[in-house]
Every structure is written in C-alpha cells, then in structure tokens.
C-alpha cells in the first residue's frame, strides 16, 4: 500500500478542517472494509486518512417518536442490528445492515460508509431509499441535508464536495401501520455482493396502501427508486397479484448489466421477484404495527 | 511368454494389433524384441535408455517401478500407460 498519514479527530469541525486542508487526497476512514481494499488495489490513493470513529455524534443512534431517527453515520452495522429501537422501527434497514459481509465486516462497516462508498450494489442503500432517508452533511460551508435519492451521481460517485462528511442519516419516524423490508439475491447464503437488492416501505390504511417506496440495488449505475411501481400500489390492496404487478413495473425501472456476478437478463427477472417479496414482507410487518 | 498390450495411439506401429506375445525377461528386453518385430516402437517409449517421461509401464496391474530394468514373468501382462500425476 502507498504511504499516507492518519488522523483521528474527535469533532466534526476538526474532521472537516483536516479534510479541507488536504485537498482532494484526503479520505474518510470509518469501517475501512471497502476503503482499505481499494487502497490495496491502488484504486484510491489518499495521502491522509481521517478516522471519524472517535466523533461522538457519528457513533450515536437517537430516536424520537416525533422527529424520527438520527443515525450516526459511523455506527457499526452490528450495533444497528443489536439496537432494539432500530429493530422495532426500521426492521428493513436493520436487516440490510445485518446482511453486509460477515459479522467481522459488520463489526466495522457502517451505513455511512456504505452510503459514501456509493456502490450500486450497497445493501443499505435500497433500504435507505425506501425509507426516504436524508443524509446530513457537514462541510466547510456548514451543514446541508441531501435526500438519499439525490445523493448518488454514478458508480462510486456522490454529491459530496471537498471537505464534506456525512454525519448522520435522518429518517422520519415510521407512520402508523407502516414498515420496511429489505431482501437481496446472492448465490451463496452470506458473504456475497447483492446480484439484486430490493427495499420496500409501505404504509397501510386497513387493506389499502396509502404510501409506498421501493428502492433497488445492483440494477442501475446507482441505487434507484422505482416510483412507478410504488405509485401503482397506492389505493390498492397489497396482495400477491398487485405485488407481482409492482414487481413488473420495478423491472422497467431497472437497467442492469452483465458482470461477473450475474447477467442482465437474470437481474431483470429477479428485480421483479424481490420487489414482490419485499413488498409482501413489508406489508405483513405493517399490518402488525 | 509375456503379453504386451499396445496403447491405442501406438497401434499404428503394430499394424493395428492390440496385444502382442513377445519374449523377454525384463521390460527393456521386451521393448527391444518389440522393436525388432515392429521397427520404431522403441523410440515411442524410450529416451536416453529410460522410459520416456510421459510413459509408465504396468505389469500385472502394478507400476513397474524399475522401469526398463523391471523383471517380467512368463505370464506377465504388460501395459504401457501414461505417467501418473496427482493432486
């Protein structure tokens, strides 16, 4: 690996200063589970690594039934999985966090890292999209908030400017009778990158869907929403048939490619399957809320 | 006399014969006698006075570890086979 220096600031301000000072060659390290591999492969060559794990607000999970969730961007996935609030209110996002890599990886990897690495196949991104999550970003010019659906700009690329850090993920408190679900397809049972990932969040009024969001991973240059599939469901009863149709509409939103993990043909097919399953799973949970 | 089974791709030297009964007390002698009867055969299996690196000899189902020096009996069945590999 190339040479670099390492700093571990304890405040967001210090981190922003460090990142801003070192031009384009500074990089945040959180879990390091993507970054260190990229650095070993010389894909990235930062001269400075800024470790954000010692910044308290980035390590906290706080939930308020009115204002919703403030999820520290550096909270390791395993802590999300073990957090009762997360499991109760955001089961889909929680299960996405619990699918990333092995337990060893989850002990280090964070949702903020997953977001900022901006892989099209990131497991938590479709779940965040489905929840309408917002990234709270601190930078040299203060803070700003960017909805996750506007966060990605291409494979491995996002809206972050020089010196900016995603500090927290903000998610509204779940509406009554709403719930989320995330499902992915991998050839093994663990340890793979999603061939397709699908996150769904639905709100029910009795039998009828009053709100729905569907996020898809690994089927486009960035994680995407499937708005037509979600809109179709509004006012309908969510059952096998409507879920199937929503799955077909989700397929239309996808523009997958062939790669070593799967074929475009297979991905397009599986988008529909997973969308259907994620929707039905979310609805089942929502009925219990 | 021992009987020698000819590998498929060498049968062109034996006029298509799959097996030949031939005298000899060692593999080397058998090969020499075979070569007299079917000129050119020896060069297919022998190099620098030893079996070729790609060739092994089986006598009555067991590998002839002595190569050309291995003794054969009157009733031996001799097969030329590819040399072994393994994982």
């Amino acid at each position: 690996m190339h040479e670099f220096s390492y700093e571990a600031p304890t405040t967001v301000d210090q981190a922003v200063k460090l990142l801003s000072a070192d031009g384009d060659s500074a990089r945040i390290i959180c879990g390091g589970t993507d970054l260190l591999i990229q650095m070993r492969n010389a894909v990235r060559k930062p001269r400075l690594l800024v470790d954000v794990k010692a910044i308290p607000e980035m390590r906290q999970i706080s939930f308020d039934p009115k204002t919703g969730l403030k999820l520290g961007a550096a909270v390791p996935c395993i802590e999300i999985h073990e957090n009762q609030t997360m499991r109760k209110y955001y089961p889909g996002l929680t299960e996405a966090a619990h699918l990333i890599g092995s337990l060893q990886i989850q002990s280090r990897a964070s949702i903020g890292g997953n977001l900022c690495n901006s892989s099209p196949a990131a497991d938590t991104s479709p779940a965040l999209l489905a929840l309408g999550a917002v990234a709270k970003i601190a930078g040299p010019n203060g803070t700003r908030e960017v909805p996750v659906e506007k966060f990605f700009t291409g494979p491995g690329q996002n809206v972050l400017q020089k010196g900016e850090i995603v500090v927290q993920i903000l998610i509204a408190a779940p509406a009554p009778h709403s719930a989320d679900r995330y499902i992915r397809m991998i050839p093994r049972n663990e340890m793979d990158i999603a061939i397709v990932g699908a996150g769904a969040c639905v709100t029910l009024d009795g039998d009828k869907v009053t709100a729905a969001r569907i996020g898809l991973g690994a089927v486009a240059p960035t994680p995407i929403l499937a708005p037509k599939a979600a809109e179709y469901l509004i006012g309908k009863k969510l059952d096998e048939k409507t879920a199937e149709r929503a799955g077909e509409l989700a397929r239309e939103a996808a523009s997958p490619i062939d790669d070593m993990r799967g074929t475009a043909e297979y991905r397009r097919h599986v988008v529909g399957v997973l969308t259907r399953r994620a929707l039905l799973g979310a609805a089942e949970r929502a009925r219990q809320n | 006399m021992p009987i020698v089974f000819i590998p498929s791709l060498l049968r062109k030297f034996t006029g298509g014969k799959e097996s030949v009964v031939i005298p000899g007390r060692t593999v080397g002698e058998v090969v020499r006698n075979l070569d007299q009867q079917f000129p050119g055969f020896r060069d297919q299996v022998v190099e620098n006075d030893d079996l070729k690196s790609s060739v092994a000899v089986s006598i009555d189902g067991d590998l002839a570890v002595g190569g050309l020096l291995e003794q054969v009996s009157e009733s031996s069945e001799i097969h030329f086979v590819p040399a072994i590999g393994g994982g």
């Binding site: 690996m1 190339h2 040479e3 670099f4 220096s5 390492y6 571990a8 390290i29 879990g31 390091g32 589970t33 260190l36 591999i37 070993r40 690594l49 470790d51 794990k53 390791p76 395993i78 890599g101 092995s102 337990l103 060893q104 990886i105 002990s107 280090r108 049972n189 663990e190 340890m191 | -």
Partner: protein
C-alpha cells in the same frame, strides 16, 4: 516516509505499545511488529476470516483494520485464547473432534466461535453456521468445525 505512530493498546490482557506506519494493518502489526503470527493472512479482503481477532470483544478481520486504529482498544488473538496451558473448550474440542486439517483457518474460526459463545452460550446449528460464515475452510467441509463448536458450547454450559 509517513511518520511512524505510537500505538498504546491492550493485547491478550497485557498493555502493549508498538510503533507502526499508518499503512500497516493490524494484522501486519500483530505478525510483523509484535511477532504474534497466530493470526493468519488468507486474502487481505476480509473474505476468508483467517485473520479474525476480537477488538473490544467483537470479531474483526485484522487485515481490514489499521494498526493505528488499535489505539486504546482491547485486542484478543488466538494466542490469548487459552489460559496459560489450560485450553479454551473450543480449542480442546477442535482437537478432539478433528476439526482441523491444514489448520490455517483454525485461529480465525476459534476467534469467531469464541465471539459467538461469549454472546450466545447455547447456539443452534444454524446460529453457529451463521456466526462462522465469515470464515472459509477448504479442508473440512465445515462439518467437524460446527460439531466442535456445539460440543464446546456443551462444556461451557456444564460449568
């Protein structure tokens, strides 16, 4: 050359100080600087688990953590699993159940399994398989590894 940094940490219960370059992983620090070669390198991508150590009691691939990140942490490696000459039940059962062939993955499996049993002393087979999914073994087909963890759990429960 980027300046070496002093890292104060705790390894296998002992306070330890070492100097490392920021680019040296925790795995390199343990193996090349501290001589703790029990943790193994298998892939350097966090996929095989042979380098698994516990950091503040959680399993981590030490190939995907920098040595400098160990500052102030509590690190446990396979060398710290036994108490003196008294083997951990997992070590004992791995021996008795013939759970290792070449043995290169064994330290990582032991650490992942320890982490599991520390949290869940009575795991099901499925829970064991899930907890060990980040550790690859190519020799055993996992059967005897899973059995050893089940057997070790019984020993721990009986205590």
């Amino acid at each position: 050359m980027a300046k070496k940094q002093l890292v104060e940490t705790t390894i296998n219960g002992e306070p330890v100080e070492f100097l490392c370059e920021p680019r040296q992983s925790l795995l390199e620090s343990l193996r090349d600087i501290l001589g703790l070669t029990g943790s193994k390198e298998g892939c350097l991508t966090g996929d095989c688990g042979a380098c698994t150590v516990l950091v503040d009691d959680r399993p981590v691939c030490s190939c995907l953590m920098l040595g400098v990140e160990a500052r102030g942490k509590k690190i446990t490696t396979v060398e710290g699993l036994a108490e003196g000459t008294k083997l951990h039940p997992l070590q004992q059962k791995f021996l008795e159940d013939a759970s290792l062939q070449c043995g290169i993955c064994t330290p990582g499996f032991l650490m992942s399994a320890k982490s599991l049993l520390d949290r869940n002393p009575n795991p099901t087979e499925a829970e064991i398989r899930y907890a060990l999914a980040g550790n690859l073994c190519r020799c055993t087909g996992y059967d005897k590894i899973v059995r050893a963890v089940m057997d070790a759990a019984k020993v721990i429960q009986a205590r």
